[in-house]
Symmetry: C2
Subunit: 192 residues, 2 copies
Amino acid sequence: MRAKEIKSEIRIIGIDDSPFKKGKKQKVLVIGAVFRGGKWLEGVLSTKVTLDGLDATNKIANMINKSKHKGQLQIIMINGIAVAGFNVIDIKKLYEKTGLPVIVLMRKKPKMNEIKKALKHFKDKQKRLNIIEKAGDIYPCGKVYFQCYGIKNKLAEKVIKISSTHSLIPEPIRVAHMIGSGVILGESKGRV
Amino acid sequence: MRAKEIKSEIRIIGIDDSPFKKGKKQKVLVIGAVFRGGKWLEGVLSTKVTLDGLDATNKIANMINKSKHKGQLQIIMINGIAVAGFNVIDIKKLYEKTGLPVIVLMRKKPKMNEIKKALKHFKDKQKRLNIIEKAGDIYPCGKVYFQCYGIKNKLAEKVIKISSTHSLIPEPIRVAHMIGSGVILGESKGRV
């Protein structure tokens, strides 16, 4: 992606999961909000992934690839590297499967020692850690942090800034979060 | 509601139902999209109502009354007088229960003889017809039509125009429709 392609109405899909009950084996609703930059919603996609599973990368890639919006989409934004517990997203694979650059947005800088601790009960913890680690360097941008793949970090920063029109969080992610929690809980709650 | 209260960022809740399979007795997801005028989404509410039941008025009133957005909301917009099949909404009762004026938006002018035909298999068809008929006069506004309660039709027209920022349909209703169909079908489809 080149700088001149980043217009204020760049089509972004923002992805976030929904609230779920801990412990119980279940499918968790994941929302994709198709936005024109930080301006308005053009479409809503959804899929379901396994709590603490490893199917999120494929499920999200399929959700995007089969969408009527695919041809216009220019970038994927995810709220954190994992959905539905520790269903970690392989952003290189997601880029390869969709052909779209990926930005992982984080409100706080993740602490690797805490992640390792949380993963210790997983039999395949090393596999999950590898996916997290290969997501690459973490960059600051205003009050948030991000990782990216298929796009240079300076351009990713520009996309984050262009789309953060109503809060510190890019609008496609903020809205995906509200939809997921509003549908599951009856009212959207909590910060992204 | 007075004319001076209708600002471009007036807080509106747009309500629409979600796709469902005909015939099967079921609960149908209803979405409330809390908007600042036609500009941006502030919250998502949801409830479930019975297909062809008569619980929509109470369910929607409760969804609104218990919301943290209640204090700021100034108007309710519904996509048509019924949700979930023929679960007709009593707009006078909805106004009385919430204290908020109600606008019913319609893409086409409804034909009473077709409605009567569709209702003929309902044992309580007269009750449902009464609710529909007491919703009052139908006014045109651009290419859409509306009914209203608790607000004068000229002011309702102003609210519809202010909030129709990206299509012929007010943004709160357009987005509620996209959320409902995106969550149920996997991708938002169909016109409002």
